[in-house]
Symmetry: C2
Subunit: 297 residues, 2 copies
DNA sequence: GCGAGACATTCGTGGCCGGCATGGATGTCG
DNA sequence: CGACATCCATGCCGGCCACGAATGTCTCGC
């Protein structure tokens, strides 16, 4: 059964005339006549009674008409949806991001995207880079904001990376700290300070791995949450390492000092999409928003 | 857009492999590959990502898949409905009948039809013959049980008639009436009886028109309803004319006598269907039930 | 490094579906 | 009552499309 036959059938049913339907469809009368005949032969029943002044639906024709209209309407809906998808009037993007990216970078990009394309369903899942790459490969996510330590670049062939920014490490110190006015500091200058660590969280491990050899911080306070950690710093209990992306969440009563490049090289941050998969327009636009958001940070 | 393309698309989406879908559909791989490519070209977006080990739906593909499945399912439903219609598993028949036919003939046929084909929607409208013929011509009814006086045969070219029965006139008399034991009577024998008439109802007019000239019944009771009319007869207040079809509604305490053919010729009863219109299987079966019901009456 | 598996592409051909023209049936009007 | 108009059916033919077969290309796995 051909869709065109159904369209012809619907037109004939509406016009109650083969000739009229042919005119509407820009066909000749003979073409429509044979279309109807073919459709009737295919379904094995008469769909129209031939009257002297046109045609009239039979009971079977009435039955088929309902279905034909439903089918054609649904098809129109499909076309509309595809057009919407192309024009970002619909669709879905599943975004993943590592935790500190969710502090400022990702929410800004999401907000900008949402206000520009409110009809695209945009979801976010927080996770660590390896898990996010798995999600991408499994098709459970469309975009992932991931990070790579400088010494071990991401070389996952399954994903395609778009560089967003290089994240530096900051040191959070209380406003009254002796180094609070400096812009760039060396780790060695903190040899006598107490450090407030992030416990055994993976962020902590990650940060630790970027530190230069030979630096052994004195740690006696472990705070898992950023708020607690920075609260301790503000209270003068010590200093703490803060990734640049999380800097937006720091209160005003402490200072953030950039570490010298030799002490902690930058962590690279990318937006990853599945390699070899076409990126929907929505995904492409979201990537652009991420890049812009990273530049404005 | 071709339906076949949608089927191919669905199969490929299910198999996640063009080759596999081709095997299921009994096509060559190349055919399916080009079908997919053509569909993608038509909608203007990529529906599948080509992976080394098969294909994967894109966002647009997922969108289309839902519609495609809906369309194909609806089409299957259409085919099922048409098959049901042929097998009397569905459909609709709108029946019309003149009032006295609804007394026994039509209800019996309807009951038989309904028990045989419970899934066919059968409706009944009571009306007079001219109105029923109008309904038929207008397409508002599928079958009409109509009657024709013997002297003025139905010659409406718009309908096709199937003869059901010839209806004779009966005379209802009380059980104790002097003629109660007779089977056939002449009107002249009732010259001294009082008649109970049906008022100005159309049935009465119709009956009166079939009576022979020269017979002037003595009427002093007019009862519109059959129950009242026959109640009067049973009470010995007089006699009444009863059309054969209404005879089933008569109580047991009165006798029904057939009139001699010379006094009142039979009224012909037909089942009418629109001329030139194909009769659905359900209509044909209903006609058969009407014929059988008329024969058994 | 080679074979297996998957998709893409090219080429030739048969079938299907248009338009064109004609025929048949029916209703209408002078 | 005959000519005309209207509408549907059908025979014929040409073009286009889609299929099959074969080949090319890429990737993965052994």
């Amino acid at each position: 059964m051909h869709l065109q036959s159904l369209e012809v059938f619907r037109a004939v049913a509406r016009h109650r005339t083969i000739t009229g339907a042919a005119a509407e469809l820009r066909y000749t009368q003979s073409a429509v006549s044979r279309q109807v005949a073919a459709l009737e032969a295919e379904v094995g029943v008469r769909l129209f009674d031939r009257l002297p002044r046109g045609v009239a639906l039979t009971e079977e024709g009435r039955s088929l008409l309902g279905h034909a209209e439903a089918v054609l309407d649904r098809l129109a809906a499909a076309r509309r949806d595809l057009a919407d998808l192309r024009g970002l009037g619909a669709g879905r993007v599943r975004l993943g991001a590592f935790p500190t990216a969710v502090a400022a970078l990702v929410p800004r990009a999401m907000a900008a995207f949402r206000s520009a394309h409110p009809d695209v369903a945009l979801t976010l899942v927080e996770g660590l880079t390896p898990a996010l790459l798995e999600r991408l490969a499994a098709g459970d996510a469309d975009v992932a904001v991931v990070s790579a330590p400088p010494d071990r670049p991401l070389d996952d062939a399954r994903v395609r990376l778009r560089h967003l920014l290089d994240e530096h490490l900051l040191v959070a110190v209380p406003r009254g700290h002796r180094l609070a006015r400096r812009r760039v500091v060396r780790l060695a200058e903190f040899a006598d300070d107490y450090w407030i660590a992030g416990s055994a969280t993976v962020e902590d491990t990650l940060l630790r791995s970027t530190l230069p050899r030979g630096f052994r911080p004195r740690v006696d306070i472990v705070a898992a949450e950023w708020t607690g950690k920075l609260g301790c710093v503000a209270a003068g209990l010590g200093v703490a390492l803060v990734p640049e992306l999380a800097a937006r969440a720091t209160p005003a009563d402490l200072a953030l000092l950039r570490l010298h490049a030799d002490d902690a090289s930058a962590r690279r941050v990318f937006a990853a999409t599945p390699a070899g998969r076409t990126r929907s327009p929505a995904v492409r636009v979201l990537l652009d928003h991420l890049v812009r958001s990273a530049a404005d940070l």
